[in-house]
């Protein structure tokens, strides 16, 4: 059976060029980058330092400001808890926003239990934070603002340069989770006023289990306490033997993404719009979730009224996508991100996230659009909601039996 992967915001296929770059570091150059007294260690260290340069250059940073991590969850935890621990005497207020990844929200909730004050800003119907609200939320004891660049579910891209400027004015540190935009949208930590930045390899066709955290060293010098204590690697911010093959893979993935930045995001955005147009032109009652234009090039999130997302996915098993439906989540709750932008639970159940990557083609997109249209039509034929709506009855006015 033909298989099509359109779930690249979850993870991506490793680029064969990345794998090739990594391979020597398993059986041949397998040294510990912290071994200072032999050639095995030196060649590992050399590779790690070259990788550091590579990552730094993609975001306009200095190599010394890059800390390697096990991925974005660790990066976000380290940035948020690390800053909170170091700056507690200055203040205990942190600002974030409702559609952040759980790897940002949960550390913030945890800090709230430890006596910090956390403000979770709402977003508008397109998933944008309001800068005026952000400004209002800042108080003299605010130490950190953590607002993501591109959203993983709905693709909305936040105005991080403006947020960075606001933070600079108030001398508040600014952390941004750039998992969905690193290597896909231009990022410059100087121009955007970013103090801490999280990214991950597996979202850009690199391996899983490795990422990087940028921690600013100058104007201001950001202090960040470690989450993992141990041998004092990564200037004490992150102990643990460096994942050399992973780091080499991350760097190679970043290098390729950087080199293709001129053309690839535009190609992806065109595919995304092609998919959207092909579906929307053939189906009624489809809603685009997220911002219509200010969104990541990879992400398309649609709600299909009267249809449940899990059954839609089941109806096209050869297509890999994801859904905000409760039936696909471990919590049995529909997506909190869709709730935050005011999508009703009924429409959240019928939402599908299509996310594109380097290896997707126009042919695949056309095929998926056709399958989506056919499956939605089939499911609507067996949907009592569609039938009731076709009769002109307002579904909101119906009295339902709730379990």
């Amino acid at each position: 059976m033909r298989r099509i992967y359109l779930d690249n915001n979850a993870t991506t296929q490793v680029d064969p060029r990345v794998l090739e770059a990594m391979l020597p570091f398993f059986c041949d150059k397998f040294g510990n980058a912290a071994s200072r007294n032999h050639a095995f260690g030196w060649e590992a260290e050399q590779a790690v330092e070259a990788a550091r340069e590579q990552i730094a250059s993609l975001i306009g940073a200095d190599a010394k400001e890059i800390v390697f991590t096990s991925g974005a969850t660790e990066g976000n935890n380290t940035a948020i808890k690390g800053v909170a621990a170091m700056y507690a005497e200055r203040g205990k207020h942190i600002i974030t926003q409702a559609t952040e990844h759980k790897a940002v929200l949960d550390p913030c909730h945890w800090l709230a239990e430890q006596g910090y004050r956390v403000t979770v800003l709402p977003v508008d119907a397109e998933g944008m934070v309001d800068l005026e609200q952000l400004k209002q939320a800042m108080t003299p004891d605010t130490i950190l603002v953590s607002i993501m660049h591109g959203n993983n579910e709905i693709g909305t891209v936040q105005p991080i340069a403006e947020i960075g400027r606001l933070c600079k004015e108030r001398e508040v540190l600014f952390h941004t989770d750039c998992c969905q935009t690193f290597g896909k949208l231009p990022i410059n930590v100087e121009e955007m006023g970013i103090d801490l930045l999280t990214c991950s390899a597996h979202k850009i066709h690199g391996p899983k289990g490795v990422g990087a955290l940028y921690v600013r060293r100058k104007r201001p010098r950001v202090r960040c306490a470690p989450v993992l204590h141990g041998g004092g690697h990564e200037r004490g911010v992150r102990s643990g033997t460096l994942n050399v093959p992973g780091i080499v893979g991350l760097a190679k993935a970043a290098e390729i993404s950087g080199r293709e930045m001129e053309s690839e995001p535009a190609r992806l955005a065109a595919l995304r719009d092609r998919l959207k147009d092909a579906i929307i032109s053939k189906l009624d009652a489809v809603r685009l979730n997220g911002h219509p234009t200010l969104r990541t090039p990879t992400n398309l999130n649609l709600s299909f009224a009267y249809v449940e997302g899990e059954s839609l996915m089941m109806g096209m098993p050869e297509v890999a996508v994801s859904s905000g439906s409760a039936c696909t989540s471990a919590s049995l709750e529909p997506s909190y991100v869709l709730r935050a932008i005011g999508v009703g639970d009924d429409l959240a159940h019928g939402s599908i996230r299509f996310s594109l990557g380097r290896f997707n083609t126009a042919d695949e997109v056309d095929y998926v659009a056709e399958r989506v249209v056919a499956t939605v039509r089939k499911l609507r034929e067996m949907s009592p909601l569609y039938e009731i709506a076709q009769e002109g009855v307002d579904l909101k006015a119906v009295e339902w039996t709730r379990e």
Binding site: Y306, V307, E308, E310, S311, M314, G315, S325, A326, C327, T328, L332, P334, G344, D345, D346, H349, E381, M382, S383, P384, L385, Y386, E387, L395, W400, T401, R402, E403
Partner: protein, 138 residues
């Protein structure tokens, strides 16, 4: 979620999708669930003059196991006596479709839909027989 073969079979080839005339005195309609909960089932039964269920139809908004549960329910309903419709238990559906624990509520919904349809039909018949009695007394 990886489903068993029977769920996939009912999902891909749903039995008895459709609608019966809900205004007919011999049709019972049950609609259960809510859109914001992610599943709504409509189940209908048609009986003959001897209360034999001669047809059953469903429409379901919901996940694969909700669709499969209602599809299976219509299959089991056809040919039964109305009274025996209520013998169908959600646990039978769970067993037949090998539903995982998180999907048990789908089978419960199917049982509820059967009850609602039977109740609707009995209400219609009750109203009719009391109307007949009323006529007789005149």
């Amino acid at each position: 979620m990886p489903y068993g073969d029977k769920v996939i079979d009912h999902f891909q080839r749903p039995r008895n999708v459709g609608s019966l005339d809900k205004t007919s005195p011999n049709v019972g309609t049950g609609i259960v669930g809510a859109p914001e909960c992610g599943d709504v089932m409509k189940l209908q039964i048609l009986v003959d003059e001897n209360d034999n269920i001669v047809d059953a139809k469903f429409k379901t908004f919901g996940c694969g196991s909700a669709i499969a549960s209602s599809s299976l329910a219509t299959e089991w309903l056809k040919g039964r006596k109305l009274d025996q419709a209520l013998d169908i238990r959600n646990t039978d559906i769970v067993r037949e479709l090998a539903l995982p624990p998180v999907k048990i509520h789908c089978s419960v919904l199917a049982e509820d839909a059967i009850r609602a349809a039977v109740e609707d039909l009995r209400k219609k018949k009750g109203a009719r027989s009391s109307a007949v009695e009323g006529n007789g007394a005149k």
